[in-house]
Protein backbone atom coordinates (compact mmCIF):
# COMPACT_ATOMS: atom_id res chain seq x y z
CA UNK A 1 0.00 0.00 0.00
CA UNK A 2 1.55 3.34 -0.99
CA UNK A 3 2.25 5.91 1.69
CA UNK A 4 0.22 9.12 1.70
CA UNK A 5 1.87 11.98 -0.17
CA UNK A 6 2.02 14.30 2.81
CA UNK A 7 3.94 11.70 4.81
CA UNK A 8 6.37 11.21 1.91
CA UNK A 9 6.82 14.98 1.76
CA UNK A 10 7.48 15.16 5.49
CA UNK A 11 10.06 12.38 5.45
CA UNK A 12 11.94 12.98 2.21
CA UNK A 13 15.09 10.97 1.66
CA UNK A 14 17.31 14.01 2.20
CA UNK A 15 15.64 14.66 5.55
CA UNK A 16 15.89 11.04 6.66
CA UNK A 17 19.52 11.00 5.58
CA UNK A 18 20.33 14.04 7.72
CA UNK A 19 18.53 12.49 10.71
CA UNK A 20 20.46 9.23 10.34
CA UNK A 21 23.83 10.85 9.69
CA UNK A 22 23.69 14.31 11.27
CA UNK A 23 26.37 16.70 9.98
CA UNK A 24 28.38 18.90 12.34
CA UNK A 25 27.43 16.64 15.20
CA UNK A 26 29.50 17.11 18.36
CA UNK A 27 30.86 19.83 20.58
CA UNK A 28 33.21 22.78 20.23
CA UNK A 29 35.89 23.39 22.84
CA UNK A 30 35.62 26.68 24.74
CA UNK A 31 35.72 29.59 24.17
CA UNK A 32 32.35 29.42 22.50
CA UNK A 33 28.67 29.90 23.31
CA UNK A 34 26.72 26.87 24.46
CA UNK A 35 22.94 26.82 24.71
CA UNK A 36 20.45 24.09 25.53
CA UNK A 37 17.00 23.97 24.00
CA UNK A 38 14.13 21.57 24.44
CA UNK A 39 10.51 20.88 23.67
CA UNK A 40 9.34 19.77 27.12
CA UNK A 41 6.08 18.26 25.93
CA UNK A 42 7.72 15.90 23.44
CA UNK A 43 11.16 15.50 24.96
CA UNK A 44 13.21 16.75 22.01
CA UNK A 45 16.50 18.21 23.18
CA UNK A 46 19.37 20.04 21.58
CA UNK A 47 22.73 21.35 22.75
CA UNK A 48 24.24 23.90 20.42
CA UNK A 49 27.80 25.22 20.37
CA UNK A 50 28.51 28.42 18.48
CA UNK A 51 31.84 30.04 17.76
CA UNK A 52 32.07 33.47 16.15
CA UNK A 53 35.20 34.67 14.36
CA UNK A 54 36.88 38.06 14.90
CA UNK A 55 34.40 39.69 12.52
CA UNK A 56 31.42 38.27 14.33
CA UNK A 57 30.65 35.75 11.59
CA UNK A 58 29.75 32.17 12.40
CA UNK A 59 33.05 30.33 12.39
CA UNK A 60 31.73 27.04 13.64
CA UNK A 61 28.40 25.58 14.70
CA UNK A 62 27.93 22.12 16.17
CA UNK A 63 25.14 20.32 17.96
CA UNK A 64 24.16 17.25 19.90
CA UNK A 65 20.66 16.22 20.65
CA UNK A 66 17.95 13.67 20.71
CA UNK A 67 14.52 13.75 19.25
CA UNK A 68 12.47 12.95 16.21
CA UNK A 69 13.82 12.77 12.68
CA UNK A 70 12.46 16.22 11.90
CA UNK A 71 14.17 17.94 14.83
CA UNK A 72 17.51 16.24 14.23
CA UNK A 73 17.48 16.64 10.45
CA UNK A 74 16.56 20.29 10.81
CA UNK A 75 19.48 20.86 13.21
CA UNK A 76 21.87 19.09 10.84
CA UNK A 77 20.68 20.98 7.77
CA UNK A 78 20.83 24.27 9.67
CA UNK A 79 24.40 23.59 10.78
CA UNK A 80 25.48 22.91 7.19
CA UNK A 81 23.97 26.19 6.01
CA UNK A 82 25.26 28.35 8.82
CA UNK A 83 28.99 27.62 8.68
CA UNK A 84 30.69 30.84 7.64
CA UNK A 85 27.51 32.91 7.54
CA UNK A 86 27.40 36.47 8.74
CA UNK A 87 24.97 37.12 11.57
CA UNK A 88 22.67 39.11 9.30
CA UNK A 89 22.59 36.22 6.84
CA UNK A 90 21.89 33.87 9.74
CA UNK A 91 19.00 36.00 11.00
CA UNK A 92 17.55 36.21 7.51
CA UNK A 93 17.74 32.46 7.14
CA UNK A 94 16.13 31.89 10.52
CA UNK A 95 13.19 34.09 9.49
CA UNK A 96 12.89 32.47 6.07
CA UNK A 97 13.05 28.99 7.54
CA UNK A 98 10.19 29.79 9.89
CA UNK A 99 8.16 30.77 6.83
CA UNK A 100 9.08 27.49 5.12
CA UNK A 101 7.71 25.34 7.94
CA UNK A 102 4.72 27.46 8.94
CA UNK A 103 3.70 28.86 5.57
CA UNK A 104 3.23 32.25 7.25
CA UNK A 105 4.96 35.33 5.89
CA UNK A 106 7.15 35.83 2.83
CA UNK A 107 10.47 34.32 1.95
CA UNK A 108 13.06 37.00 1.26
CA UNK A 109 15.79 34.84 -0.24
CA UNK A 110 14.62 31.60 -1.84
CA UNK A 111 18.10 30.71 -3.15
CA UNK A 112 19.75 30.94 0.26
CA UNK A 113 17.40 28.26 1.62
CA UNK A 114 18.59 25.52 -0.73
CA UNK A 115 17.59 22.08 0.52
CA UNK A 116 16.05 23.59 3.67
CA UNK A 117 13.03 24.22 1.45
CA UNK A 118 12.44 20.45 1.59
CA UNK A 119 11.15 20.88 5.14
CA UNK A 120 8.10 22.60 3.65
CA UNK A 121 6.28 19.29 4.23
CA UNK A 122 6.06 20.22 7.92
CA UNK A 123 3.32 22.73 7.05
CA UNK A 124 0.82 19.87 6.80
CA UNK A 125 1.75 18.72 10.32
CA UNK A 126 1.30 21.78 12.55
CA UNK A 127 2.30 19.85 15.67
CA UNK A 128 5.73 19.23 14.16
CA UNK A 129 6.61 22.91 13.63
CA UNK A 130 8.15 23.05 17.08
CA UNK A 131 10.29 20.01 16.19
CA UNK A 132 11.53 21.65 13.00
CA UNK A 133 12.29 24.99 14.68
CA UNK A 134 13.94 23.68 17.86
CA UNK A 135 17.52 24.09 16.60
CA UNK A 136 16.72 27.45 15.06
CA UNK A 137 15.35 28.84 18.28
CA UNK A 138 18.49 27.60 20.02
CA UNK A 139 20.63 29.37 17.42
CA UNK A 140 18.74 32.63 17.93
CA UNK A 141 19.42 32.34 21.63
CA UNK A 142 23.09 31.48 21.07
CA UNK A 143 23.55 34.51 18.82
CA UNK A 144 21.94 36.76 21.40
CA UNK A 145 24.14 35.35 24.15
CA UNK A 146 27.29 35.54 22.05
CA UNK A 147 26.66 39.19 21.31
CA UNK A 148 25.87 39.91 24.92
CA UNK A 149 28.91 38.19 26.39
CA UNK A 150 31.65 38.65 23.80
CA UNK A 151 33.08 42.11 24.06
CA UNK A 152 35.14 41.32 20.96
CA UNK A 153 32.04 40.86 18.86
CA UNK A 154 30.95 43.97 16.99
CA UNK A 155 27.85 45.54 18.53
CA UNK A 156 26.23 45.86 15.13
CA UNK A 157 27.56 42.98 13.12
CA UNK A 158 25.76 43.96 9.97
Amino acid sequence: MPLPDDLRDLYQQVILDHSRRPRHHGRIEAPCTHVHGDNPTCGDEIDLWLKLDANGNIEQLKFEGQGCAISQASASMMSVKMQGSSQSQARQLIADFRTVVTGEGNISDEDALGELALLEGVQKFPQRVKCATLAWRALEQALAEANGSQAAAPATPS
Binding site: L3, L10, L16, T41, C42, G43, Q66, G67, C68, R128
Partner: protein, 407 residues
Protein backbone atom coordinates in the same frame (compact mmCIF):
# COMPACT_ATOMS: atom_id res chain seq x y z
CA UNK B 1 -15.40 -15.13 26.57
CA UNK B 2 -16.28 -11.80 25.07
CA UNK B 3 -18.45 -11.73 21.95
CA UNK B 4 -16.51 -9.01 20.21
CA UNK B 5 -18.58 -8.61 17.09
CA UNK B 6 -21.61 -7.84 19.22
CA UNK B 7 -19.77 -5.68 21.67
CA UNK B 8 -18.00 -3.48 19.11
CA UNK B 9 -21.46 -2.43 17.92
CA UNK B 10 -21.88 -0.73 21.29
CA UNK B 11 -19.11 1.77 20.43
CA UNK B 12 -20.17 4.10 17.61
CA UNK B 13 -16.76 5.77 17.42
CA UNK B 14 -14.93 2.58 16.47
CA UNK B 15 -16.68 2.38 13.10
CA UNK B 16 -14.82 5.02 11.16
CA UNK B 17 -11.84 5.37 8.90
CA UNK B 18 -8.73 7.41 9.59
CA UNK B 19 -6.48 8.21 6.66
CA UNK B 20 -8.60 5.90 4.52
CA UNK B 21 -7.99 2.93 6.85
CA UNK B 22 -10.22 1.42 9.56
CA UNK B 23 -9.48 3.08 12.89
CA UNK B 24 -7.40 0.96 15.27
CA UNK B 25 -7.67 2.63 18.63
CA UNK B 26 -4.75 1.58 20.83
CA UNK B 27 -4.59 4.63 23.08
CA UNK B 28 -6.89 3.30 25.76
CA UNK B 29 -4.48 3.97 28.62
CA UNK B 30 -4.89 7.68 27.78
CA UNK B 31 -8.67 7.50 27.47
CA UNK B 32 -11.13 4.77 26.61
CA UNK B 33 -14.03 5.04 24.21
CA UNK B 34 -17.63 5.27 25.39
CA UNK B 35 -20.41 2.76 24.74
CA UNK B 36 -23.82 3.83 23.47
CA UNK B 37 -25.37 3.14 26.89
CA UNK B 38 -23.13 5.74 28.56
CA UNK B 39 -23.75 8.32 25.84
CA UNK B 40 -27.49 7.62 26.11
CA UNK B 41 -27.41 8.07 29.91
CA UNK B 42 -25.95 11.56 29.44
CA UNK B 43 -28.50 12.49 26.80
CA UNK B 44 -31.38 11.09 28.87
CA UNK B 45 -30.26 13.02 31.93
CA UNK B 46 -30.02 16.32 30.07
CA UNK B 47 -33.24 15.77 28.15
CA UNK B 48 -35.41 14.63 31.06
CA UNK B 49 -33.90 15.05 34.51
CA UNK B 50 -31.41 17.93 34.57
CA UNK B 51 -31.46 19.95 37.83
CA UNK B 52 -29.12 20.61 40.70
CA UNK B 53 -28.74 17.87 43.28
CA UNK B 54 -29.30 17.73 47.04
CA UNK B 55 -31.06 21.10 47.39
CA UNK B 56 -34.23 21.17 45.38
CA UNK B 57 -37.54 19.89 46.55
CA UNK B 58 -38.98 19.70 43.09
CA UNK B 59 -39.39 16.66 40.89
CA UNK B 60 -36.40 17.17 38.61
CA UNK B 61 -34.02 17.80 41.48
CA UNK B 62 -35.31 14.72 43.23
CA UNK B 63 -34.75 12.63 40.12
CA UNK B 64 -31.27 14.04 39.55
CA UNK B 65 -30.34 13.46 43.20
CA UNK B 66 -31.68 9.91 43.17
CA UNK B 67 -29.68 9.03 40.04
CA UNK B 68 -26.59 10.78 41.36
CA UNK B 69 -26.64 8.91 44.66
CA UNK B 70 -27.57 5.63 42.98
CA UNK B 71 -24.40 5.97 40.91
CA UNK B 72 -22.41 6.49 44.11
CA UNK B 73 -23.79 3.23 45.50
CA UNK B 74 -22.98 1.38 42.26
CA UNK B 75 -19.40 2.67 42.30
CA UNK B 76 -19.05 1.68 45.97
CA UNK B 77 -20.20 -1.85 45.24
CA UNK B 78 -18.03 -2.01 42.11
CA UNK B 79 -14.78 -1.49 44.05
CA UNK B 80 -15.75 -3.25 47.26
CA UNK B 81 -16.16 -0.15 49.44
CA UNK B 82 -17.69 -0.73 52.88
CA UNK B 83 -20.17 2.08 52.31
CA UNK B 84 -21.17 4.58 49.62
CA UNK B 85 -20.09 7.27 52.11
CA UNK B 86 -16.53 6.29 51.28
CA UNK B 87 -16.95 7.40 47.66
CA UNK B 88 -15.92 11.00 46.92
CA UNK B 89 -16.52 12.28 43.41
CA UNK B 90 -13.69 14.32 41.88
CA UNK B 91 -12.64 15.48 38.42
CA UNK B 92 -10.37 12.47 38.04
CA UNK B 93 -7.39 10.66 39.51
CA UNK B 94 -5.31 13.83 39.50
CA UNK B 95 -7.82 15.73 41.59
CA UNK B 96 -8.33 12.75 43.91
CA UNK B 97 -4.61 12.69 44.68
CA UNK B 98 -4.43 16.46 45.05
CA UNK B 99 -7.31 16.32 47.50
CA UNK B 100 -5.47 13.91 49.78
CA UNK B 101 -2.14 15.70 49.37
CA UNK B 102 -3.69 19.05 50.17
CA UNK B 103 -5.75 17.89 53.13
CA UNK B 104 -3.00 15.74 54.64
CA UNK B 105 -0.20 18.28 54.25
CA UNK B 106 -1.85 20.50 56.83
CA UNK B 107 -0.92 17.96 59.47
CA UNK B 108 2.65 17.39 58.35
CA UNK B 109 5.89 18.98 59.44
CA UNK B 110 9.64 18.67 58.82
CA UNK B 111 9.89 15.45 60.83
CA UNK B 112 7.43 13.67 58.52
CA UNK B 113 8.06 11.93 55.22
CA UNK B 114 6.05 10.95 52.15
CA UNK B 115 7.07 8.00 49.98
CA UNK B 116 6.27 7.61 46.28
CA UNK B 117 7.61 5.16 43.75
CA UNK B 118 9.87 5.90 40.82
CA UNK B 119 7.23 4.78 38.33
CA UNK B 120 4.56 7.33 39.17
CA UNK B 121 2.63 9.35 36.65
CA UNK B 122 3.36 13.05 37.19
CA UNK B 123 -0.10 13.25 38.79
CA UNK B 124 1.10 11.08 41.66
CA UNK B 125 4.42 12.87 42.01
CA UNK B 126 3.92 16.61 41.58
CA UNK B 127 1.12 16.93 44.21
CA UNK B 128 3.46 15.31 46.77
CA UNK B 129 6.33 17.59 45.79
CA UNK B 130 4.00 20.52 46.40
CA UNK B 131 2.76 19.05 49.70
CA UNK B 132 6.36 18.49 50.82
CA UNK B 133 7.27 22.07 49.97
CA UNK B 134 4.27 23.44 51.83
CA UNK B 135 4.65 21.32 54.93
CA UNK B 136 8.40 20.91 55.13
CA UNK B 137 8.01 17.12 54.98
CA UNK B 138 10.58 15.01 53.13
CA UNK B 139 9.73 13.23 49.88
CA UNK B 140 11.40 9.86 49.41
CA UNK B 141 11.39 7.49 46.45
CA UNK B 142 11.22 3.77 45.90
CA UNK B 143 13.46 2.93 42.93
CA UNK B 144 12.33 0.85 39.98
CA UNK B 145 14.38 -2.30 39.34
CA UNK B 146 15.54 -3.45 35.91
CA UNK B 147 12.64 -5.89 35.65
CA UNK B 148 10.19 -2.97 36.07
CA UNK B 149 9.23 -3.96 39.60
CA UNK B 150 9.67 -1.84 42.73
CA UNK B 151 12.61 -2.18 45.09
CA UNK B 152 10.64 -3.17 48.17
CA UNK B 153 13.86 -3.40 50.19
CA UNK B 154 14.26 0.35 49.89
CA UNK B 155 10.60 0.83 50.77
CA UNK B 156 11.19 -1.21 53.91
CA UNK B 157 14.17 0.98 54.82
CA UNK B 158 12.13 4.14 54.35
CA UNK B 159 9.31 2.77 56.48
CA UNK B 160 11.69 1.61 59.22
CA UNK B 161 12.60 5.23 59.99
CA UNK B 162 9.16 5.64 61.53
CA UNK B 163 8.83 9.01 59.80
CA UNK B 164 6.68 7.98 56.86
CA UNK B 165 3.12 9.31 57.14
CA UNK B 166 1.91 8.32 53.71
CA UNK B 167 2.93 6.02 50.89
CA UNK B 168 1.50 6.72 47.44
CA UNK B 169 2.00 4.24 44.67
CA UNK B 170 0.55 3.34 41.31
CA UNK B 171 -1.40 0.08 40.96
CA UNK B 172 -0.58 -0.37 37.25
CA UNK B 173 2.19 1.62 35.60
CA UNK B 174 0.86 3.53 32.60
CA UNK B 175 4.28 3.44 30.91
CA UNK B 176 5.60 -0.01 31.79
CA UNK B 177 2.49 -2.07 32.38
CA UNK B 178 3.89 -3.34 35.69
CA UNK B 179 1.26 -4.51 38.16
CA UNK B 180 2.50 -3.66 41.63
CA UNK B 181 1.95 -5.99 44.62
CA UNK B 182 -0.48 -3.60 46.26
CA UNK B 183 -1.61 -5.80 49.19
CA UNK B 184 2.00 -6.42 50.20
CA UNK B 185 2.94 -2.75 49.89
CA UNK B 186 -0.11 -1.63 51.89
CA UNK B 187 0.61 -4.20 54.60
CA UNK B 188 4.14 -2.86 54.92
CA UNK B 189 2.86 0.72 55.16
CA UNK B 190 0.23 -0.12 57.76
CA UNK B 191 2.70 -2.03 59.93
CA UNK B 192 4.91 1.06 59.91
CA UNK B 193 2.00 3.31 60.85
CA UNK B 194 1.79 4.98 57.43
CA UNK B 195 -1.33 5.52 55.36
CA UNK B 196 -1.37 4.28 51.79
CA UNK B 197 -2.84 5.74 48.63
CA UNK B 198 -3.09 3.70 45.44
CA UNK B 199 -3.41 5.33 42.01
CA UNK B 200 -5.74 2.96 40.22
CA UNK B 201 -6.19 4.94 37.00
CA UNK B 202 -4.96 2.04 34.85
CA UNK B 203 -6.48 -0.71 36.96
CA UNK B 204 -10.19 -0.05 37.55
CA UNK B 205 -12.25 -1.30 34.63
CA UNK B 206 -9.45 -3.61 33.47
CA UNK B 207 -9.59 -6.24 36.19
CA UNK B 208 -11.56 -6.74 39.43
CA UNK B 209 -10.51 -4.21 42.07
CA UNK B 210 -11.60 -4.74 45.66
CA UNK B 211 -10.30 -2.04 47.99
CA UNK B 212 -11.05 -4.17 51.05
CA UNK B 213 -8.71 -6.88 49.78
CA UNK B 214 -6.03 -4.42 48.72
CA UNK B 215 -5.75 -3.01 52.22
CA UNK B 216 -5.05 0.59 51.18
CA UNK B 217 -6.47 3.70 52.86
CA UNK B 218 -7.16 5.71 49.69
CA UNK B 219 -7.79 4.56 46.14
CA UNK B 220 -8.00 7.02 43.24
CA UNK B 221 -9.27 6.47 39.71
CA UNK B 222 -10.75 8.21 36.68
CA UNK B 223 -13.99 7.55 34.87
CA UNK B 224 -12.80 8.30 31.36
CA UNK B 225 -10.38 5.37 31.24
CA UNK B 226 -13.23 2.96 32.01
CA UNK B 227 -15.91 3.95 29.50
CA UNK B 228 -17.29 6.91 31.49
CA UNK B 229 -17.12 10.58 30.42
CA UNK B 230 -14.08 12.77 30.98
CA UNK B 231 -14.15 15.08 33.99
CA UNK B 232 -15.38 12.58 36.54
CA UNK B 233 -13.28 10.51 38.92
CA UNK B 234 -13.35 8.93 42.32
CA UNK B 235 -11.45 9.04 45.54
CA UNK B 236 -12.26 6.14 47.80
CA UNK B 237 -11.18 6.63 51.39
CA UNK B 238 -11.52 4.33 54.37
CA UNK B 239 -14.27 5.79 56.61
CA UNK B 240 -12.02 5.94 59.64
CA UNK B 241 -9.42 7.91 57.68
CA UNK B 242 -11.90 10.26 56.02
CA UNK B 243 -13.35 11.16 59.43
CA UNK B 244 -10.06 12.75 60.39
CA UNK B 245 -9.33 14.42 57.08
CA UNK B 246 -9.90 18.19 56.98
CA UNK B 247 -11.76 19.65 53.99
CA UNK B 248 -9.73 20.97 51.09
CA UNK B 249 -12.12 23.18 49.12
CA UNK B 250 -14.77 25.31 50.76
CA UNK B 251 -18.15 26.20 49.30
CA UNK B 252 -21.72 25.05 49.03
CA UNK B 253 -22.67 21.41 49.60
CA UNK B 254 -19.80 20.78 52.04
CA UNK B 255 -21.10 22.83 54.99
CA UNK B 256 -23.50 22.25 57.84
CA UNK B 257 -23.97 25.80 59.01
CA UNK B 258 -22.35 29.06 58.03
CA UNK B 259 -22.03 32.35 59.85
CA UNK B 260 -20.11 35.36 58.65
CA UNK B 261 -17.20 34.32 60.84
CA UNK B 262 -17.01 30.55 60.57
CA UNK B 263 -18.59 27.36 59.31
CA UNK B 264 -19.03 23.79 60.33
CA UNK B 265 -18.57 21.03 57.80
CA UNK B 266 -20.53 18.00 56.80
CA UNK B 267 -19.19 14.51 57.09
CA UNK B 268 -17.64 12.65 54.19
CA UNK B 269 -18.25 12.45 51.34
CA UNK B 270 -20.10 15.78 51.22
CA UNK B 271 -17.26 17.51 53.09
CA UNK B 272 -15.02 16.92 50.09
CA UNK B 273 -17.53 17.80 47.39
CA UNK B 274 -17.81 21.58 47.48
CA UNK B 275 -19.88 23.17 44.73
CA UNK B 276 -22.21 21.71 42.15
CA UNK B 277 -20.73 18.40 41.07
CA UNK B 278 -20.47 16.95 37.57
CA UNK B 279 -23.91 15.40 37.86
CA UNK B 280 -24.08 14.11 34.29
CA UNK B 281 -20.55 12.73 34.64
CA UNK B 282 -21.50 10.82 37.78
CA UNK B 283 -24.58 9.39 36.09
CA UNK B 284 -22.42 8.46 33.10
CA UNK B 285 -19.96 6.78 35.45
CA UNK B 286 -22.80 4.78 36.95
CA UNK B 287 -23.85 3.68 33.46
CA UNK B 288 -20.24 2.72 32.68
CA UNK B 289 -20.06 0.57 35.81
CA UNK B 290 -23.29 -1.18 34.77
CA UNK B 291 -21.90 -1.77 31.31
CA UNK B 292 -18.57 -3.17 32.53
CA UNK B 293 -20.32 -5.44 35.04
CA UNK B 294 -22.55 -6.83 32.29
CA UNK B 295 -19.46 -7.89 30.34
CA UNK B 296 -17.70 -9.01 33.51
CA UNK B 297 -14.33 -7.86 34.79
CA UNK B 298 -12.75 -11.34 34.70
CA UNK B 299 -13.67 -11.62 30.99
CA UNK B 300 -12.29 -8.13 30.30
CA UNK B 301 -9.06 -9.03 32.08
CA UNK B 302 -8.68 -12.31 30.19
CA UNK B 303 -9.22 -10.59 26.85
CA UNK B 304 -6.70 -7.88 27.69
CA UNK B 305 -4.13 -10.45 28.75
CA UNK B 306 -4.58 -12.45 25.55
CA UNK B 307 -4.25 -9.37 23.31
CA UNK B 308 -1.21 -8.13 25.21
CA UNK B 309 0.49 -11.51 25.02
CA UNK B 310 -0.10 -11.63 21.27
CA UNK B 311 1.26 -8.10 20.91
CA UNK B 312 4.33 -8.72 23.05
CA UNK B 313 5.19 -11.94 21.21
CA UNK B 314 5.02 -10.09 17.90
CA UNK B 315 6.81 -6.96 19.09
CA UNK B 316 9.90 -8.71 20.40
CA UNK B 317 10.36 -10.28 16.95
CA UNK B 318 10.69 -6.88 15.27
CA UNK B 319 14.23 -5.76 14.42
CA UNK B 320 15.64 -2.96 16.58
CA UNK B 321 12.66 -2.96 18.92
CA UNK B 322 13.18 -2.68 22.66
CA UNK B 323 10.23 -3.62 24.81
CA UNK B 324 9.86 -1.73 28.08
CA UNK B 325 8.16 -3.16 31.14
CA UNK B 326 8.00 -6.57 32.77
CA UNK B 327 9.93 -9.30 30.95
CA UNK B 328 7.85 -11.82 28.97
CA UNK B 329 6.16 -14.29 31.28
CA UNK B 330 5.77 -11.79 34.14
CA UNK B 331 2.37 -10.20 34.86
CA UNK B 332 1.71 -7.26 32.53
CA UNK B 333 -1.30 -5.00 32.21
CA UNK B 334 -2.98 -4.55 28.82
CA UNK B 335 -0.33 -2.32 27.33
CA UNK B 336 3.06 -2.50 25.66
CA UNK B 337 5.58 0.34 25.47
CA UNK B 338 8.58 0.12 23.22
CA UNK B 339 11.30 2.07 21.47
CA UNK B 340 12.64 1.58 17.96
CA UNK B 341 16.27 1.95 17.06
CA UNK B 342 15.46 3.40 13.64
CA UNK B 343 12.75 5.89 14.55
CA UNK B 344 11.89 8.31 17.30
CA UNK B 345 8.49 7.70 18.84
CA UNK B 346 6.94 10.81 17.26
CA UNK B 347 8.03 9.73 13.81
CA UNK B 348 6.56 6.28 14.40
CA UNK B 349 3.29 7.60 15.81
CA UNK B 350 2.97 9.99 12.85
CA UNK B 351 3.54 7.09 10.47
CA UNK B 352 1.04 4.86 12.31
CA UNK B 353 -1.58 7.60 12.17
CA UNK B 354 -1.52 7.56 8.38
CA UNK B 355 -2.47 3.88 8.62
CA UNK B 356 -5.40 4.54 10.94
CA UNK B 357 -3.50 3.28 13.98
CA UNK B 358 -3.73 5.43 17.12
CA UNK B 359 -0.66 4.93 19.31
CA UNK B 360 0.68 7.16 22.03
CA UNK B 361 4.20 8.51 21.79
CA UNK B 362 6.27 10.47 24.28
CA UNK B 363 7.14 10.24 27.95
CA UNK B 364 3.56 9.36 29.02
CA UNK B 365 3.77 11.88 31.87
CA UNK B 366 6.48 9.76 33.49
CA UNK B 367 9.65 11.70 32.74
CA UNK B 368 11.70 10.33 35.69
CA UNK B 369 10.79 6.79 34.65
CA UNK B 370 11.82 7.34 31.01
CA UNK B 371 15.11 8.71 32.29
CA UNK B 372 15.52 5.67 34.54
CA UNK B 373 15.26 3.39 31.50
CA UNK B 374 17.34 5.73 29.33
CA UNK B 375 14.53 6.22 26.85
CA UNK B 376 13.90 9.66 25.36
CA UNK B 377 10.30 8.52 25.17
CA UNK B 378 8.45 5.45 24.03
CA UNK B 379 5.60 4.37 21.82
CA UNK B 380 2.72 2.73 23.60
CA UNK B 381 -0.07 0.47 22.46
CA UNK B 382 -2.75 0.04 25.11
CA UNK B 383 -5.71 -2.25 24.71
CA UNK B 384 -9.27 -2.56 25.91
CA UNK B 385 -11.94 -5.19 25.62
CA UNK B 386 -13.27 -3.89 22.29
CA UNK B 387 -9.91 -4.38 20.56
CA UNK B 388 -9.32 -7.49 18.49
CA UNK B 389 -6.52 -9.90 17.70
CA UNK B 390 -6.81 -8.81 14.06
CA UNK B 391 -6.06 -5.26 15.13
CA UNK B 392 -2.97 -6.43 17.01
CA UNK B 393 -1.79 -8.24 13.87
CA UNK B 394 -2.45 -5.13 11.79
CA UNK B 395 -0.37 -3.07 14.23
CA UNK B 396 2.54 -5.48 13.88
CA UNK B 397 2.30 -5.21 10.06
CA UNK B 398 2.26 -1.40 10.26
CA UNK B 399 5.26 -1.39 12.59
CA UNK B 400 7.19 -3.60 10.15
CA UNK B 401 6.33 -1.19 7.37
CA UNK B 402 7.49 1.75 9.51
CA UNK B 403 10.77 0.04 10.33
CA UNK B 404 11.41 -0.51 6.62
CA UNK B 405 10.59 3.12 5.90
CA UNK B 406 12.80 4.67 8.58
CA UNK B 407 15.75 2.24 8.42
Amino acid sequence: MIDLSQLRQDFPILHQQVGGEPLIYFDNAASSQKPRSVIDALVRYYERDNANVHRGLHELSNRATAQFEAARSRVARFIGAASEREIIFTRGTTESINLVAHAMAEKWGPEDAIVVSGMEHHSNLVPWQMAAQRSGASLWHVPVLDDSSLDLGVLKQHLSTGRVRLLSCVHVSNSLGSINPVPEICDMAREAGALSLIDGAQAVGHFPVDVAKLGCDFYAFSGHKMCAPTGIGVLWGRSRVLENLPPWQGGGEMIESVTLERSTYKEAPARFEAGTPDIAGVIGLGAAVDYLERIGLPAIEAHGTALTQRAVEGLVELPGLRLLGPPPGKPRAALASFTLQCAHTHDLVEFANTRGLALRGGHHCTQPLMKRFKAAGSSRASFYFYNTADEVDAMLRILREAINFFS
